[in-house]
């Protein structure tokens, strides 16, 4: 009787087989000035998710991102965004929920901040995710949603949009200063 392993494979599995979320690529930092994804962002998926695992800086600072419409030659998409956070120091104070006007953007091409300043002790890091919706649209702006936690503890909520009708085809992550000492960023496509 024929089995799967003894027949010639000539069947392309539909994209729905095995789940709707696919790991497209991942990169692990090693004293990296930035991590960029310059391929794989296209019309294949309507949503892309970037997952951050223990992003650790070489010097304390905010973790940021920007997008590109020219394959990564320039990262300078105009963005309008919001940023708020809940925080509590390990000592118990301060605590609270605050909007951070210093971290949002209003029609700016600057990098969007994703975390508060990540400390630099050996076990400090930031983890979380960023959703980017329909980056290949040539009709609509490009919405994004992010949720990050970094040691302190500060949980950050970021939303906004790339205010462009050009397709987004690359994305760049870096610290405001210094390197990404270690950590992994994974890019998923969600059908």
């Amino acid at each position: 009787m024929s089995t799967y392993t003894d027949i010639r494979y000539d069947y392309n599995l539909p994209s729905s087989v095995g789940g709707a979320m696919k790991l497209i690529s991942e990169q692990t930092a090693s004293a990296s000035s930035s991590i960029s994804f310059t391929s794989g962002i296209d019309s294949t998926y309507r949503t892309y998710m970037f997952k951050f695992i223990n992003i650790h800086p070489s010097s304390a600072g905010t973790f940021t991102f920007n997008m590109s419409t020219d394959g990564g030659s320039t990262y300078a998409v105009t963005k309008t965004s919001t940023f708020f956070y809940a925080r509590q120091n390990e000592s118990g104070t301060p605590t609270g929920l605050s909007y951070e006007t210093g971290y949002d953007l209003a029609q700016s091409t600057s990098y969007q901040i994703l975390t508060d300043s990540v400390p630099v002790n050996n076990d400090d890091s930031a983890s979380g995710y960023l959703h980017l919706f329909n980056p290949s649209s040539t009709t609509y702006v490009k919405h994004f949603l992010a949720n990050m936690n970094n040691t302190y503890s500060i949980e950050c909520f970021i939303t906004g949009y790339g205010n462009t009708t050009s397709a987004i085809n690359a994305i760049d992550f870096k610290f405001a200063s210094g390197n990404i000492d270690s950590g992994t960023i994974k890019m998923y496509g969600i059908a």
């Binding site: 599995l13 390990e90 400090d124």
Partner: protein, 205 residues
């Protein structure tokens, strides 16, 4: 002629095969008047992210706090030190309106106590009505790391019915402040049992 539909299936698809997903259901447990639900296996270095999904968690008593803790000794002790944040949005079924606020009674600062998922006891999940429950999820990042703290993020919604009936939307974030690997997790109410509900544990590659 042999076709796919009449083949005997004996080929495990690789996780890297085109079209396969990155989210794997590792295990699920359904409560039945359970004092707690623990996952003591399957949390290891196989995945760098775990998702715990809560489906209609219903308490046996009124207004108990649904909460969790983690273990570094396979579930012998659930007492990992945590620093966390917790805030909520809520509105009333009866009067509408809305509120967004930080809750200093549900966060932790270097504490080994259980972390509230719903609000603290007294304003927790309603068990009074048979249709009341909590649903949501927690993301746990890289629990097997022996270098970094263990970040987690969670969102849920539940019904509180003390005095007036409210819909609570809760956001929790924080980290287990340990460089030991987390290998077990425990969920329970602050009092009473988990009368009903399902918790699913997923691994994400």
């Amino acid at each position: 002629m042999t076709t796919y539909s009449n083949l005997k299936y004996d080929h495990p698809f690789s996780s890297n095969a085109t079209g396969t997903g990155s989210l794997t259901l590792i295990s699920s447990q359904t409560a039945s008047a359970s004092t707690n639900i623990s996952f003591t296996s399957g949390i290891d270095s196989t995945y760098d992210e775990y998702i715990f999904k809560f489906i209609n968690i219903h308490p046996s008593v009124d207004d108990a706090s649904f909460q969790f803790n983690m273990s570094t000794d396979n579930g012998s002790n659930y007492n990992v030190i945590k620093t966390t944040t917790w805030f909520q949005a809520y509105t009333s079924e009866d009067t509408g309106g809305g509120n967004l606020s930080y809750d200093g009674n549900a966060d932790l600062a270097q504490s080994t106590s259980y972390q509230p998922i719903s609000r603290e006891a007294g304003v927790g999940v309603s068990g009074a009505n048979s249709d009341d429950s909590l649903s949501g999820y927690i993301y746990l990042f890289a629990p097997s790391s022996t270098t970094y703290v263990k970040h987690f993020l969670g969102v849920n919604n539940y019904i509180y019915s003390g005095g007036e009936t409210n819909s609570f939307n809760n956001f929790l974030g924080g980290y287990a402040n340990t460089t030991s690997a987390i290998n077990a997790i425990d969920f329970k109410f602050s009092s009473g049992n988990i009368d009903d509900g399902t918790i699913l544990m997923y691994g994400v590659k």
